[in-house]
């Protein structure tokens, strides 16, 4: 017999042990509450330690608007929720969605800046256009987007990125690995400072393609702008046609 039952029995109903329904584990009440405990620029581990285990609370936290102040926290929460969710997680378009994602799938109708930043695994599907810095510093996983803004897949170290439409400037800036496919055209300075990895462009490329690149491979199905491969130190650039002042080492697709 438990002590509570024993006491009930002894006091014959004069006293009772009624407990309101409570959770045993410490929980997070809101994004503000989480920020009070870990700060607004925490590490993922710090957030993960405090995040509630039950999915319903996590979904409630993600449903709240983080504003500019708590967007990093929201980004971590979106990744943790996607990793725990057995099905693809459909999220509203916000900055930092899928921040440091390691597994799972996130579906976005449209996306803002910094989506999929530092991701290591999993998939992010953006049906429409994404903002700037898509997949920045990613080292694994894959992102598929309708179109992207500037600095997409910057400093990429692994994984893949597919852009079904056009991309903005500085696509694949400083890449050290990974694969990027842009089915449409890309803006200026694509593959700038590229060290390794590959970049394929289905349409045309802007000026300064492969600027200062030292490794990797760039293939353009259409024509490039002026000064393709300018001051390149290594790697390969292949295109169907080159604009004026292209570097000596660039190759034609033929």
């Amino acid at each position: 017999m438990k002590l509570a039952e024993f006491m009930d029995d002894a006091y014959q109903g004069l006293t009772r042990v009624r407990r309101l329904e409570t959770r045993q584990r410490d929980t997070i009440f809101s994004l503000e509450d989480l920020a009070d405990r870990v700060g607004t620029k925490p590490s993922r581990n710090a957030v993960e330690e405090l995040v509630p285990r039950d999915m319903s609370t996590l979904i409630q936290l993600i449903a709240s608007d983080p504003g500019k102040t708590y967007q990093l926290l929201w980004g971590y929460l979106s990744s943790i929720a996607a990793e725990r969710s057995p099905e693809p997680l459909h999220l509203p378009a916000r900055d930092y969605a899928g921040l440091e994602l390691t597994s799972g799938t996130i579906l976005l109708d449209g996306a803002r800046d910094h989506v999929g930043e530092r991701m290591k695994g999993g998939r992010i599907l953006v049906r429409l256009g994404a903002g700037d810095y898509l997949g920045q510093e990613m080292s694994g996983g894959g992102i598929i987007a309708g179109s992207v803004g500037d600095y997409a897949f910057q400093n990429m170290r692994g994984g893949f990125g597919v852009v079904q439409g056009d991309s903005g400037n500085s696509l694949g800036l400083g890449n050290n690995g990974g694969k990027i496919i842009c089915k449409g055209s890309c803006g200026e300075r694509a593959g700038w400072l590229m060290h390794s990895g590959s970049l394929r462009v289905g349409g045309e490329a802007g000026d300064y393609l492969g600027l200062l690149m030292s490794g990797g491979k760039i293939v353009v199905a259409g024509r490039t702008g002026k000064r393709a491969g300018w001051r390149m130190k290594g790697g390969t650039i292949m295109a169907n046609g080159f604009g004026p002042e292209a570097a000596d080492g660039v190759l034609g697709l033929d």
Binding site: R18, L20, R23, F29, S30, E32, D36, Q60
Partner: protein
């Protein structure tokens, strides 16, 4: 209802809660609406409550008692809840924060009672059902709370479909018994309810024992540590108290602990009788005792002497040196904000004064900038604190003559000088300061070593003991350490 009736109800409520030491309520006689008729050690009862029957009255008394014995109970807890409520509001305002604290503590108190017994549950629900019965008079705030309590308690209260009900349920999903959650829960409650205020709920004074007992003005509020004076004053305003800079420093100094090591003197003392032998000195022989034990004195057999033992004994009374604080409040000390040189220096001075005062010493203070303020030798700690708390905010001119005059009145006093060494008139005042350091024990704390003046530093080193503070955080502990050694240790004064 006759008056004897409700007093018996009060006694019954006290009996329900194991006879807490609370004063008998008084019927309110105030006719001014909105006025809070509060006096020391008095729980005020609205006469209209008497018309609502003994059960309702018992519920009300139980509710009040649990406020005083459980939540918020003490000024310390009430202060931390007030701070949390202010933090939770996007536009902090003391009246709204007070309302949030009251609503939060009402929820905690009644949930606690609800869990206690079936009788208590019945009384709690009766009170809230009566509130729900006010219908059209209910404000959105009240409706949200009632809707939340309906879900939280599973009670037959009016439902509310607003999303804030779910947010409140999440906040209270960890229960109400763990006091470690109260600050966060109160902060979230304030954040959620901010848009709905005001309503019927949440009015009146925050109920805690110190306010009831009339000692709130002097009770320490440890939550002062780590917050700016402005926020501290706001937090006290939520509790209906007036906070000032002096209290801010004093409340912070309470949390600085001076741990005294137990002292003892090691001396020999007489113990029982032991045998006197031929090789012992003759004068140690206790002839009277030996003859009382035997008529014949046979050395080593019937001869006795008094034994001696050496061991720790209670320390004797020692005179404590009086304390003179010389505090720099020039512009370069940065003013009374959290983490500044002024803040740390004043806090250290407050603690040193309190400690010396507690040890029976007289205290004096000089607060200097271009001009200076003096508190003469006194046992009135408040007078000294009034001088220390001022920020004069001008150039650094040390008043050597005033230091010397005070030191001459108490030869051997301890002089603690806290400055950032940007002293501009040091050489004009040098002779006086040098004389003062010879009369008393001079200890100098130089802040801001990165910008130190080499010549000043060398000159000051010849005055006595000098501490150079590289890290501002060390200042308080160093001052406290020096004070402790002066008043509770043995090495500091004797080493000079």
């Amino acid at each position: 209802m006759e008056s004897w009736d409700w007093t018996r109800v009060w006694q019954k409520s006290r009996e329900n809660w194991h006879w807490p030491l609370l004063p008998r309520p008084c019927l309110s006689t105030s006719q001014t609406p909105g006025e809070f008729p509060f006096q020391n050690y008095r729980i005020t009862l609205n006469p209209q409550a008497l018309n609502l029957g003994p059960l309702y009255l018992e519920n009300l008394f139980d509710h009040l008692i649990v406020h005083y014995v459980f939540c918020p109970r003490s000024l310390e807890v009430a202060g931390s809840l007030a701070l949390a409520a202010l933090k939770g509001q996007s536009q902090p305002e003391s009246a709204r924060a007070r309302c949030a604290v009251n609503i939060f503590s009402d929820i905690v108190v009644d949930s606690f009672r609800l869990e206690r017994s079936a009788d208590d549950e019945k009384k709690v629900l009766m009170g809230w059902e009566r509130l729900a019965g006010q219908g059209q008079e209910l404000m959105p705030l009240d409706r949200v709370i009632l809707g939340f309590l309906r879900e939280f308690w599973g009670a037959s209260l009016p439902s509310c479909k607003r999303p804030e009900v779910d947010l409140l349920l999440r906040v209270f999903s960890v229960g109400i018994r763990d006091t470690g959650f109260w600050k966060r829960q109160c902060q979230e409650t304030a954040r959620i309810l901010e848009q709905f205020m005001p309503g019927i709920l949440g009015h009146g004074q925050v109920r805690c024992l110190e306010i009831l007992n009339g000692s709130a003005h002097a009770a320490p509020v440890a939550c002062a540590a780590g917050i700016d004076p402005g926020r501290y004053e706001e937090a006290l305003a939520v509790l209906g108290l007036k906070g000032d800079l002096k209290r801010w420093y004093r409340d912070q100094s309470y949390s600085i602990e001076i741990r005294e090591l137990p002292r003892s003197r090691y001396e020999s003392h007489p113990s029982g009788f032991i045998k006197w032998r031929l090789d012992d000195p003759c004068h140690e022989l206790d002839v009277a005792y030996s003859l009382s034990m035997s008529p014949y004195l046979i050395p080593g057999v019937s001869t006795y002497k008094r034994g001696q033992e050496t061991g720790p004994m209670a320390p004797g009374h020692e005179a404590v040196p009086d304390l003179l604080i010389v505090l720099d409040s020039s512009r370069s000390m940065d003013g009374p904000k959290i983490g500044t040189k002024t803040h740390k220096a004043t806090l250290a001075a407050f603690k040193a004064c309190q400690y010396a005062h507690a040890k029976g010493a007289e205290v004096a203070a000089i607060n200097f900038s271009e001009k200076y303020l003096v508190a003469n030798w006194t046992r009135d700690l408040f007078a000294v604190e009034n001088v220390l708390v001022e920020f004069l905010c001008a150039r650094t001119h040390i008043p050597g003559k005033a230091v010397l005059e005070l030191a001459e009145l108490r030869p051997g006093c301890l002089i603690l000088c806290i400055t950032d060494t940007h002293i501009q008139n040091l050489y004009q005042e040098w002779n006086d300061i040098k004389k003062a350091s010879e009369i008393g024990k001079f200890v100098l704390f130089c802040i801001d070593q990165a910008y130190k003046d080499k010549h000043v530093e060398e000159s000051l080193a010849s005055l006595g003991q000098v501490y150079y503070i590289n890290c501002l955080e060390d200042l308080v502990s160093l001052v406290v350490d020096v004070t402790k050694r002066a008043y509770a240790g043995e090495s500091f004064i004797s080493s000079q």
